[in-house]
Amino acid sequence: MKNQEEKKSEAKDRRQKAEDELVIRKSSIINVEADNLKLVHELQVHQVELEMQNEELTKAREHAEATMEKYTDLYDFAPSGYLTLSEEGEITDLNFSAATMLGKDRIHLKSKRFGLFIAHESLDIFNEFFNNIYRFREKQSCELLLKSGSNSPCYIHVDALVSQSTNTCLITMIDISELKKTEIELRKELDRYEGLNRYFMDREMRMVDLKKEINELLLKSGCEQEYLI
């Protein structure tokens, strides 16, 4: 919304421009004095008309501005990261959460390639994902590791689709590092059990071989087999 000062100086400008415009228009008015009364009436009617129209327009504008503010707030302050990529993968728009996740100011991120912020080990996944978005034109999801300046790795879950009106790629992202951490711990635990399991299996197999050997020896020496295998 404009402040009072700006509005005043705008009105002044307008007055000056109107005076200039009138000089031009007057030259086309042939006989001003012919019917002053009628002319003044016409002018006054038109003036009131315009004033009313202006009032309506001002209201419409205020309403539009309020709506715009509502939607920009919804976008800017959404709790999830939200960005728009061009077909070439450049960031054309992003909200504050997205900027925070990428670790830079919003202004410095516009027109940068999104791929620059993805860790080397996730780049192939991202490239395939990005191609699929345009190839299948339906919602795609993936998980990526972001490049991070700090120590802890940042894993994100990404959902994307193509905007039908602008053909840009709309991407939302959430930080799933915590989920990932528990998952990794779980996987470690699983690996440990799997290792143990393999050890016992090997041992079992060796026992079976040993029993076979004993059975054979017993057979050769004319005794009965001792183990059932």
Partner: protein
């Protein structure tokens, strides 16, 4: 051209109202000198052009605002993530199309309902805690919930990751919802 007809009608109406409004004003010319008359006409003409210009500016501003609204409404409605605004009581004040799709319902039927109705019984306390914390602490909060997706023909459960944050004016909770059922399934497979 229907639209043009409409604007012609509107301007005739405006004209009539303007004529009416003028009747109540004092006559302008009667006993004034020719000089005064000329001055008045000049004033009126200048003012008219002023108004026309202002009018034009307003139209442009309105058009610009309208275009920006279109852009942001599209970003809101078609975001790949479900997006709600919730009251302190957990009532849905507003939601985007993706959010309505995730719940499997029509958007208009969802406004004004309690969000808690659309999650599993087990998730209720998690959700209530999240909402309470976000209004109380004004920090970004997140959790996982089990969502009920219900249409006339399908009923299924969906695991969602939710992020919540208080709005700037602290009147509502902005709430995004991402479907992570697929990744959970993958995780279970490895177990």
């Amino acid at each position: 051209m229907k639209k043009q007809d409409k604007s012609v009608n509107e301007s005739t109406l405006l004209r009539l109202i303007a004529e009416d409004a003028l009747k109540n004003e004092k006559p302008a010319l009667d006993d004034k000198t020719e000089y005064d008359n000329q001055k008045l006409i000049h004033e009126l003409q200048v003012h008219q052009i002023e108004l026309e210009m202002q009018n034009e500016e307003l139209k442009i501003a309105h058009q610009q605002a309208y275009e920006a609204i279109e852009k942001y409404v599209e970003l809101y409605d078609y975001a790949p993530t479900g997006y709600f605004s919730l009251s302190k009581e957990g009532v849905i004040i507003e939601l985007n199309l993706s959010a309505a799709n995730m719940l499997g319902r029509n958007r208009n039927n969802l406004k004004g309902t309690r969000f808690g109705l659309h999650i599993s019984h087990d998730s209720l306390s998690t959700f209530n805690k999240l909402l309470d914390r976000s209004f109380r602490l004004n920090e970004k909060e997140s959790c996982e919930l089990i969502l009920l997706h219900k249409t006339d023909t399908i009923e299924k459960l969906m695991l969602v990751h939710v992020e919540a944050q208080l709005s700037k004016d602290s009147t509502k909770c902005m709430f995004t919802m991402t479907d992570i059922s697929e990744r959970k399934k993958d995780r279970n497979k490895t177990q």
